[in-house]
Symmetry: C2
Subunit: 363 residues, 2 copies
């Protein structure tokens, strides 16, 4: 059995278990997936839907797809996006057709970003950043929502397959804007199947499950269309760096942007909530508490690939050998290296934009 | 003052007055419009919204538009469509830019007619029929909803401007399919203003007012976009020919199709509800009741252009001189002429389809 390094799991484990029960999710079974990535090995990926069908596609080399979206509203992304990209890259490496759509319609409708502006941002930043973070430029197929009339057309068909009350049961809120966006997303999720029906997987934060549920409901109502219901895998939320309840734009110390000036990011690390004790003496005596430490969380989710290295830090913290100051310094160094590498890779990707594959629409 | 020939008005006049009050409509003031058509002169057009601005455009030769839609679900239209076309033609003659959209997306979503099938029907029948019924082939601009990405894009923006409860207040029902269609229609209604803001008028049956209200609400919420709120004029419902409560597809005797075999149509006229008395003697003595007569309604709304001719029939009926049998025979002759003329004009229009103007979309 593949080792799962999540004895360190977050304090929220119980809540996640509740989530799984409440929404009828599957527990993520790492044994289904060959060569699992660190998010899978470490329990950061914790749940999903219809995972066996994807496992089968991987093992039997059958066609399937992975799909995700870019919301081109801001000029930055954050570490949460990196988790999604890491999971996309996993399936891409395991022969999934890879689709990444730019949700420019959504950005225009919900955030008042014009389609032109959204396109510019996606081309100048988001797409290069996604490539820099690990997507294969030759194997990833991008499209702009606003170019994809087939998706829009299909969303009208889907709109007839679901009632207002069903929509409310899934989303709570059912305002017209929400409804139109959600139906467009359901249509995006199935788009890679428009030409050829095949299984597909949506890697996302657990907060995106409603879109997957809606899409699955629609598939079950349009049996004559023979779509495969989308599978999904979900990662846990990244906790707020400073220990506040959640990451928030109004509190920049709570999260790290991508890219971010390493000095600014290191300052945030220096203020981060740790699992350290009140005094050095106490910490030497009782050891630190990595399971409560946001810096350890950074290592686990983002900065350390090697399980043995992570394990070593865990042990040295627990034993009182590694103190928080030293540990934060090391995290800052790793983050600085990572940011420098990222900036470099974004520059390279920007120079290769002519190699990016976009869906060719002919209307 | 222009004479209004509606002492004959339908028995529903009181209800229409109530409608006007309830929905905040304007009474239709025929004096606002030069050379009013027969529907305007005869009180069949009875209400509207923001009519003065259109009157001003007509009198001052300022740019404005008229817009309507074709629902390409059936292979026939009916006399109700003819009323709409007559009003479109009126504004077209008074220099309105004329837009007629084919609601193929709506047909696909709501009625399971594929986009290809809808397009075929529109090209082979509806568009030629609309031209045959009086639209100027050189001055009417058609488009297919599914070709018009700008309209779709804008409907997403509009979706954010209205809440679910506001939607319910306008439409009663607020199922997702209804919401998406309605927002698409609001976007269609404003489409002629996308390039250049100008007033526009929507001629329709009163049942279409919710779309106009929704569009006007959206315009008032997007003041920065500077759209003109759409004006509208409404005609009364055509009553069911056989006196049943309303026209219904399940009861073919209740309405006349366009085109329809004259023999079949004349049979329906022979069965039509009239305002005749129980016996010939009584009718000679008391006269008929044209205000209750569906055949007279046919004359008034459809078959007789000349007010004097209509007036003469009215008087001869009231005086007991014209009996129902003779009157129905005359109606059958007029309808036969009309149908033959229509079939001929549809054939001509079909041959001229290469002259039809479609919006050229370049995506």
């Amino acid at each position: 059995m593949t080792k799962i390094i999540d004895p360190y799991g977050s304090e929220l484990v119980e809540d996640y278990t509740k989530l799984i029960k409440e929404f009828g999710l599957e527990h993520f079974d790492v044994e289904l997936f060959p060569e699992p990535n660190k998010l899978m090995r470490r329990g950061i990926v914790f749940a999903g839907r219809d995972l066996k069908i994807i496992s089968k596609c991987i093992h039997e080399k059958k066609p399937y797809y992975v799909l995700s979206g870019i919301m081109p509203t801001a000029d930055k992304i954050h570490l949460g996006n990196k988790l999604v990209i890491e999971n996309i890259a996993y399936f891409q490496k395991h022969h999934a057709e890879t689709y990444v759509l730019v949700a420019d319609l959504e950005a225009a409708a919900a955030r008042n970003v014009s389609l032109e502006e959204a396109r510019k941002r996606a081309l100048n930043f988001h797409i290069p950043a996604y490539i820099a973070l690990g997507l294969d430029i030759k194997k990833t197929i991008f499209y702009f929502q606003s170019d994809n009339k087939e998706v829009m057309d299909m969303s009208y068909v889907f709109s007839r397959k679901i009632t207002l009350n069903e929509f409310k049961a899934i989303y709570g809120n059912a305002d017209p804007g929400r409804i139109m966006s959600a139906l467009l997303q359901a249509s995006d999720i199935l788009y890679p199947q428009f030409k050829e029906r095949m299984p597909g997987i949506i890697p996302a934060g657990i907060d995106q499950d409603p879109h997957v549920r809606l899409t699955r409901d629609i598939v079950s109502r349009t049996k004559d269309m023979k779509f495969f219901a989308p599978s999904s895998i979900y990662h846990k939320f990244m906790p707020a760096l400073d220990g506040s309840i959640k990451m928030s734009k109004s509190n920049p110390d709570s999260f790290i942007e991508l890219p971010e000036d390493p000095k600014s990011a290191c300052k945030k690390i220096s203020k981060a909530k740790t699992g350290g004790r009140d005094t050095v003496e106490e910490q030497r005596k009782h050891g630190g508490q990595p399971e409560k430490c946001m810096v350890f969380e950074l290592y686990k989710q983002n900065l350390i690939e090697d399980d043995n290295e992570l394990e070593k830090i865990h042990q040295e913290c627990k034993s009182g050998k590694l103190l928080c100051g030293e540990c934060k310094k090391m995290a800052c160094e790793k983050l600085t290296d990572f940011m420098e590498e990222l900036e470099k890779n974004i520059s390279i990707a920007k120079k290769n934009m002519d190699k990016v594959r976009f869906v060719k629409f002919e209307y």
